[in-house]
Amino acid sequence: MTRLSNAFSKPHAAFVAFITAGDGDTAANLDALVAGGADVIELGMPFTDPMADGPAIQSANLRSLGAGTTTADVLQIATDFRARHPDIPLILMGYANPMVRRGPEWFAVAAADAGVDGVICVDIPPEEDQALGPALRTKGIAPIRLATPTTDAERLPQVLEGSAGFLYYVSVAGITGKQQAATASIETAVAALKAATDLPVAVGFGVRTPEQAAAIARHADGVVVGSALVDLCREFGKEAPAKLQELTASMVAAIREANK
């Protein structure tokens, strides 16, 4: 968790990069994200039924599973990443069923052994925290929660209770990779979240360009980009690392410029 707090203590907003594990040469792709300046890595655990994802990440999940990716493979990718990059925070993001299949304790131990700093489980809301949260906390892994435009002031304390690492603000009510919310609404929402928590607030969903990333960085502690990177993995296959590094570097430059 120290790695996560360090990543959010920089003079600029953190760039949080998501790709799906097992979609292409994941080790090379992750190295490219780090080389481009990514501050935090979100590694997607593929699932057959990614209900909260748009077409880009859905198809990345299916490509990965089609290539035979297993939970053991995902954990190995994480382990190898940690060995190569001791200081970059690594988060596993995915759906409940692959995480709890062998029991939450098994998953928490395996993730901790792989050097994972945090876990985002899309379909475990605070109401079902017992399904995974206690096991993660025991192993010192941050359960990272999502807040959305539908999370009102009355509900927010419940979301924050037991959250750690950072708060992921989903800027649109919808699935990943679609339209982006208006900057003004993001600014208002982030201000409300920051008034309620000391956790860093990262904003994602629909962020595709350096300009959008810069606009968010002016208000939030982190900018999450997923579908735009996943699209590059699909389009360029083996040649994806150079493209990933290029897009990451341009986003990072825009964020740093915005936070000067």
């Binding site: 699932f47 709890v100 539908t150 649109v172």
Partner: protein, 405 residues
């Protein structure tokens, strides 16, 4: 509202929507406030006599309830054992039990001020029932249906379109029912402000499993009263087929505290439980989390969901309602499975002995009834829910029997 004793089988779920360890609300945060709002509105509707009155009125005059309780005399003779009785929910408007739930949910949608309805469908029965109530109340309706199912079930696709629904073929994943449900959830999460999702079975996030069960419980409540009035006693065994499990829960739930009434849920064994080609989540699956609830699922060792198979498109969902998972673990209900071949035999048996063409879904239950009746005494009574009629299935059956029509 709940006057059952503390050790009752009828007081599930708890206030967090859990049936023992099953059920719950495993949804993305965007949907969570909506699910909570839905629960509040449902509780208010339950407490409102006007809601019940409107529901009952539509069931009587639009759906055609109560459905008859029928003694299947020739089938009973042919089997040579227990008396077989049917709850005739196949005689409902639209030809299956699905409409009971759709009436309840669309009334709730309108009560909540929602102006757009979405639903998923597999074989198309729930899609047709949803399109029907949307036409009845003048609400726009989008039905998500796996592209594979759209191709296999073209008559039902046409029915939905006639009723004014937009049918969206889903090509993601395996392009079947579970993928249609994923797409329904994606639509809902992007349109939470005006859209109501009419889930077709007693599954999904709380309060859906409880709510759908309650709307479908009209089946068992009627049947219990009808049976007492006709025979002066309760049945010895209830039988119903199970995909998601709403028709079975509808029949079983009002009888759960009648200790002498045994219950048998019949899953689809497809080509057999020893291989992968079946849809028996309880008998051939393991607990996991999908589509908003914890329940038994068809899945591999990594928790990836596997595709169900059944001759009946209405049963090939890889999950099951969480209350069935709980009833199985509690031992109150026995579960078995019937293969495609046995279901096809059950289908033909009912056609010939009773002049009733059943849907392939309850044909599974008929096969199980045939099996059990022979082992029971002639004074004993089996009550089966005949939950759908077979008009939609004649093309599938003809193909399996090698007949060109």
């Amino acid at each position: 509202m709940n006057d059952t004793p503390p050790n009752s089988f009828r007081n599930q779920p708890d206030d967090r929507g859990h049936f023992g360890e099953f059920g719950g609300r495993y949804v993305a945060e965007t949907l969570m406030p909506l699910i909570l709002d839905l629960e509040r509105e449902y509780r208010a509707a339950q407490a409102d006599p006007a809601f019940a009155a409107q529901f009952d009125d539509l069931l009587e005059h639009y759906v055609g309830r109560p459905s008859p309780l029928y003694f299947a005399e020739r089938l009973t003779e042919a089997l040579g054992g227990a008396q077989v009785w049917f709850k005739r929910d196949e005689l409902n408007h639209t030809g299956a039990h699905k409409i009971n739930n759709c009436i309840g949910q669309i009334l709730l949608a309108m009560r909540m001020g929602k102006t757009r309805i979405i639903a998923e469908t597999g074989a198309g029965q729930h899609g047709v029932a949803t399109a029907t109530v949307c036409a009845r109340f003048g609400l726009p309706c989008v039905i998500y249906m796996g592209a594979e199912d759209v191709a296999r079930q073209s008559p039902n696709v046409f029915r939905m379109k006639l009723l004014g629904a937009e049918v969206v073929p889903v090509t993601s994943g395996g392009a079947t029912l579970k993928d249609a449900m994923n797409e329904g959830l994606r639509d809902w999460v992007a349109n939470v402000h005006d859209t109501f999702y009419i889930i077709g079975t007693a599954a999904g996030p709380h309060p859906y499993p409880e709510m759908v069960r309650n709307f479908q419980s009209v089946i068992g409540t009627e049947a219990r009263a009808q049976m007492l009035s006709r025979t002066g006693r309760l049945p010895d065994l209830l039988v119903a087929c199970i995909g998601g499990g709403s028709n079975a829960l509808g029949l079983f739930h009002p009888f759960l505290d009648d200790a002498d009434v045994k219950m048998l849920g019949v899953e689809a064994a497809g080509h057999g439980l020893d291989g992968d080609e079946h849809a028996a989540s309880l008998l051939g699956g393991a607990p996991g989390v999908l589509h908003g609830n914890k329940t038994y699922l068809l899945q591999d060792e990594d928790g990836q969901i596997t595709e169900g198979h059944s001759i009946s498109a209405g049963l090939d969902y890889p999950g099951i309602g969480p209350e069935h998972a709980w009833l199985k673990e509690s031992g109150r209900v026995e579960y078995t499975a019937v293969t495609d071949k046995e279901a096809l035999e059950g289908f033909q048996l009912l056609c010939r002995t009773e002049g009733i063409i059943p849907a392939l879904e309850p044909s599974h239950a008929i096969a199980a009834v045939a099996d059990r009746a022979k082992t029971m005494g002639k004074e004993e009574i089996i009550l089966m829910n005949l939950c759908g009629r077979g008009d939609k299935d004649i093309f599938t059956v003809a193909e399996k029997l090698g007949v060109e029509i």
